[in-house]
Amino acid sequence: MNMQVIKTEPATALAKPPVASVALAPKQAPNYDKYIKAAKDAAARIIPPLIVFALLMVFWELLCRRAGSTLPPPSKVYQDTKELIFDPFFDRGGIDKGLFWHLSASLQRVAFGYSLAAVVGIALGTLVGQSVWAMRGLDPIFQVLRTIPPLAWLPLALAAFRDGQPSAIFVIFITSIWPIIINTAVGIRNIPQDYRNVAAVVQLNPLEFFWKVMLPSAAPYIFTGLRIGIGLSWLAIIAAEMLIGGVGIGFFIWDAWNSSHISEIILALFYVGIIGFVLDRMIAGLGKLVTHGTSVS
């Protein structure tokens, strides 16, 4: 049904111009073609997931509408959370805030922890990639440390910082840093000898070499690491916040569970998914922008 409606629109648009003005037709035709092609591309990408989403909703509704179901159907989720959806900005003090505030608190923690991980991770990755001795010394340690699950760090962080906020940021940091280090190191090790030779002939100093050759050359690898890192950060923050409490989407979910507000959990999960997706796309997009032209040599 949906597909039909969308598809007929460009068709009518195409039919119009020759009738409207004959003189302009040759000039405008390519433009219309372009729009039609863009619309078709967009439709091909948007419509299939929409259909699947709608089917899932229907399925879920049918499954959970029966009496005695433990989870609410989508219609009930919507009714229960209408207030939260339409007023994300309320603030009644404490942790009784709109979803916007919870999400932004979580995002702030991620921003801190992740930025720190990016800077330290790229620096350490460069060291490990550049120096054989640094690699021999550090790599085995990294390989062990990176297998420690994020939440296992939390009690230690709480003991060290005696406060939830820095502990959560530390967990983000320690979770996302490993893929950044490892991928950066691989990128640095893969810098073609030719580029090193060019830098040597021009006599770039180490700092110039880092900014002008190493970073751009390793950028595709670095961004792979950064992208894995942002995903892990978002995974870790939700879990960490459930334990540290306070404002944040993780604790919001936990709190909703404790008060048996199942619909709120579902709404929160929906937001968490969307934001995780957007974060991933942001880093991917940034990577594309920065490494424009780099991968072709």
Binding site: V201, V202, G293
Partner: protein
């Protein structure tokens, strides 16, 4: 007369673990200022290794390189290299690739505006100003090599080192670039060391041709003077007896006396 550039008893042994292989043995070569010398030899005999030793990118195991009475053993812009596969940095534009070297070499002696002008001047020498804002991936192989030459020239090197600069190009582009390099040499008077495996290219461009024996332990087998007056025209040379004789002697060296034996 003291030579401008001198390779003095250069040996090179590569050692990897317990295995060591002697690539170059007892290389002695003197170059006068403004001379154009080609190094020709079969693939794998150690030509690039020799060039890299002059450039300072590889250290000689024994012996050394002397440029204007000073030993050189680390890389520097006074021995600019044009690499075989252009080696332009793909994230920089054509202009930025050339400017990178200019900024380093003339950091103290030229103002910002002068460095810009000098960069453009060198792009103009190789006729690449039209593509100055393009990235290496957007220009042809011949153009990339031109930019590589501009980058090297812009450093005002004492010696210009060319490692099979036209090896990857088609015949027409190659001929065109050879003419450009000849014209630049005529105009700027650089001292040039060029590696090639193309006999015609060697005879056409060089004042002297250094012929390498096969490796391992390759050394200089013979040095041939090319007494052709400059400027040289490739069409006229095609029937020039001196040219043909030089060509024949190089061919004899490569394909009779030092035939390349394929490793079984």
């Amino acid at each position: 007369m003291t030579p401008y550039l001198k390779l003095d008893h250069v040996d090179k042994v590569f050692t990897r673990g317990k295995v060591s292989s002697e690539v170059l043995k007892d290389i002695n070569l003197n170059l006068g200022k403004g001379e154009y010398v080609s190094i020709i030899g079969h693939s794998g005999c150690g030509k690039s290794t020799m060039l890299n030793i002059i450039a300072g990118l590889t250290r000689a195991t024994i012996g050394g390189v002397i440029l204007e009475d000073r030993e050189v053993n680390s890389p520097g812009p006074d021995r600019a290299v044009v690499f075989q596969n252009h080696s332009l940095l793909p994230w920089l534009t054509v202009y930025q690739n050339v400017r990178l070297g200019v900024d380093k070499v003339f950091a103290k002696t030229k103002s910002r505006a002068e460095r810009d002008e000098w960069t453009m001047h060198n792009l103009n020498l190789v006729q690449m100003t039209h593509a100055k804002d393009k990235r290496p991936s957007e220009i042809s192989g011949g153009m990339k090599q031109r930019v590589g030459i501009a980058r090297a020239l812009a450093m005002e090197p004492k010696v210009l080192l060319l490692d099979e600069p036209f090896g990857a190009l088609d015949a027409l582009t190659r001929a065109h670039l050879q003419d450009s390099v000849m014209a630049l040499h005529q105009k700027l008077g650089n001292t040039i060391v060029m590696i090639t495996h193309d006999v015609d290219e060697a005879v056409l461009l060089s004042d002297r041709i250094v012929m390498m024996t096969n490796g391992p332990s390759a050394t200089i087998g013979e040095v041939l003077d090319v007494p052709l007056p400059r400027p040289r025209q490739r069409l006229e040379l095609a029937s020039n007896p001196v040219y043909l004789d030089c060509r024949k002697r190089v061919l004899e060296f490569l394909y009779e006396r030092h035939k390349f034996v394929e490793a079984a």
